[in-house]
Symmetry: C2
Subunit: 429 residues, 2 copies
């Protein structure tokens, strides 16, 4: 699946190390619930699965202090690392990210203490302040996080930091992910070439639990604390917040951005054209990560992109697009490559928004073409053969027009497959 | 799975014919999309599946005019039969129900015309007014309903009406249903013994499409038009509206009640004790039908009953209970019989309601016992063996206490299985 182009940005190689002055590393410190054997590794290799014996602890470090911002899950159950990161980002500054997989450090009495210890261990090794460390965890919730493997591994983790260490860090945050999700772009700001890169994990755990998303983005562009937060808060609304694998909002979701300013552009301090360029680059990164996440949804075989236009407001368009990509019936039909437009219209119809269903048109499309399946709320004749050909592709577009105004929105989802049930029905250990 | 007892009502045999003076019948008029062969029938028998070659048209008739009420889907896409039934029930009176499966008569230009024709055909055969007929359809949407099979079959359908015809009518409304869902109760009102019975279809289609629910309830109790509607509108909120198989709201959902008054009780005309008795009986019927529907959810192997207590309001309790039974991650865990309480707490946490997550307790239970898995928002030690034993049962209870007030609610759902995906991923024809 290719990246989706965005104007004024160029895709380049890499991820969180693409921007100038960011080092990363990932190691296997040994957080697995039970010792992994060589047999496990051989089985994983034979099944072409992500090895269980894999990195589980990552560090990302900027050469200089960064302005930084984050957005967090809206779940009332919040992982301890989120509480600590929120505190550390109050001043809008950060230098490093420490993150582990396997254990979410959530719903444990000593969670905050452990999250603070992770920051302190990293800070000590790097010679920076613990308050400059962002901490994140993903994995099983409600199991006490063993700090020893992290403490024991921190020295080698820090010593192994390199300017091309992003693949090792990426492996450390992956869980049931079957694809590596990283991206980098270059763009011009204030006459300087800036670079921005990011990596994302989603969704699930090796011992599957949460549809957790963690996203880390780094850039060498210069931007104020206030505006990096504003850019992130705006862009997340139209990217990751419009992607759904199964409608479950995890307890540990976090997206953070660190901006070092090493590119030498005049720092963005107001919502001007330069800010728009920054936001555009962030959109290119996060929109493509959202697509990759949906495509790699647990058990998914297809990315579903639902574009709604002609709504009275953007909010209505968003509500309708999300309603479609969240419908289990529709998602199962996509897995079956069944042009069952009735399910699309049904999901449009129960979306909690005000519009005239009798003005709704629906098209389905892919690289193989686009066909009308519904006009003015009623079915139209179409070739089932052509529909089958279109739905055989990996990226499917559902194009809905509401005929009421200028509002539009895109949402991303995936099909619902046997493997989703298999992955999530398995026992925790 | 047994009926769940309700005070002051006694379960009796039967369904829509249990109350005095109600006849029913069901026939195969031939609405199937393609001719069914004896090979199909043999295959169905071999697979222990509901035969595709089955009844597809049903009629329920009261000997005398009834007060009647209905509630309908909130989907903006409404099947044509719903529009016609709404019109016919404006005066709160009805004598008969005509209903077909296979084709939903929805999103067709001639839908209302066809629904009216169904009423006229039935009325003519029964010698009653078309306005006294309730009409319903369930099946594939967006395909023109062929009226000929219905017209041709109406005479024999009416001629075959009997006071014990409920099994034939029930078969006619079933689609992917694997269990027959009917129930009847007796209760005292004004010194008379009244009977109430009902049948429900849900969920899916032989050519699977909508998670459609149709429910028909008959009683010989006497109650005014206004109060039968009030009773139904109240009871549906705490029964069928708290059951979810997959979160999709169909276009053709309808629940209707017909009350003939043949039991001879003094008609209920105000919200007194007698009204409460009527409502209690209706609750016993609809609560048990809701449980049966959830248990028979597409591909389900278990009924999940989530009871929330201690909420500030009933609304909050309902929101939390529904959030849990709708979580795909939780549902897949139940299929895997995995006591993954983190997923329960996660779904509690993202419920759109205000409460303190740190006061939430969670228990899981079944006929094999009840165990605590979470107290004050954090995990507690429990025996995985005991949990496995509890979750091995067919009916699973999730008991959540919020610790904030008197509000409580129960919601019903089912596990998410391979078969759900299989049933709904299949091609329409």
């Amino acid at each position: 699946m290719d990246f989706k182009p965005v104007k004024n940005v160029k895709f380049v190689e890499g991820g969180v190390c693409a921007a100038k002055g960011f080092r990363a590393n990932g190691i296997q410190c040994g957080l697995a619930h039970k010792p992994l054997t060589d047999t496990d590794a051989a089985n994983d290799a034979a099944n072409n699965a992500l090895p269980k014996k894999k990195n589980d602890l990552a560090l990302i470090v900027a050469d200089t202090e960064c302005t930084a911002a984050a957005v967090y899950t809206t779940n009332k159950v919040k992982g301890a690392p989120i509480l600590v990161t929120k505190e550390h980002l109050k001043n809008g500054k950060a230098r490093a990210v420490i993150v582990n997989s396997v254990n979410a450090n959530t719903c444990n009495a000593d969670g905050v203490e452990k999250a603070n210890m992770m920051c302190e261990l990293a800070a000590k090794e790097l010679g920076i302040a613990p308050e400059d460390v962002i901490v994140a965890s993903t994995g099983v919730i409600g199991q006490v996080l063993p700090i020893e493997p992290i403490a024991n591994g921190m020295k080698s983790l820090a010593e192994g930091l390199t300017y091309d260490g992003n693949p090792r860090a990426l492996e450390a945050i992956m869980t049931t992910d079957t694809r590596k999700k990283e991206i980098a772009v270059q763009f011009e700001m204030g006459g300087k070439t800036c670079t921005m890169g990011g990596m994302l994990k989603g969704s699930g755990m090796i011992h599957p639990n949460m549809a957790t998303t963690l996203t880390f983005i780094t850039t060498d562009a210069a931007i104020s604390e206030e505006l990096v937060q504003r850019a992130l808060s705006d862009v997340v609304k139209v990217t990751l917040n419009r992607a759904s694998v199964d409608g479950d909002t995890s307890t540990n979701d976090m997206v953070c951005v660190m901006a070092s300013g090493s590119a030498g552009n005049k720092p963005v301090t107001k919502e001007d054209e330069e800010f728009e360029k920054f936001q555009n680059a962030l959109y290119a990164i996060m929109m493509n990560l959202a697509r990759m996440m949906a495509r790699d949804g647990e058990g998914a075989t297809k990315l579903i992109e639902c574009a709604v236009t002609g709504a009275e407001t953007e909010k209505i368009a968003e509500t309708v697009a999300k309603s479609v990509i969240c419908s289990s019936l529709f998602k199962a039909a996509m897995f079956g490559e069944d042009a069952n437009w009735g399910r699309i219209l049904c999901a449009v119809g129960y979306a909690d928004a005000d519009f005239d269903i009798n003005k709704v048109d629906v098209k389905i499309g892919s690289e193989k073409g686009v066909i009308d399946v519904c006009k003015n709320g009623a079915g139209v004749d179409f070739s089932e053969d052509k529909a089958k050909e279109i739905l055989g592709e990996e990226v499917i577009e559902i194009i809905i027009s509401i005929g009421a105004g200028p509002g539009s929105a895109v949402a991303w989802g995936c099909d619902l497959t046997y493997d989703y049930v298999k992955i999530n029905g398995d026992y925790r250990s």
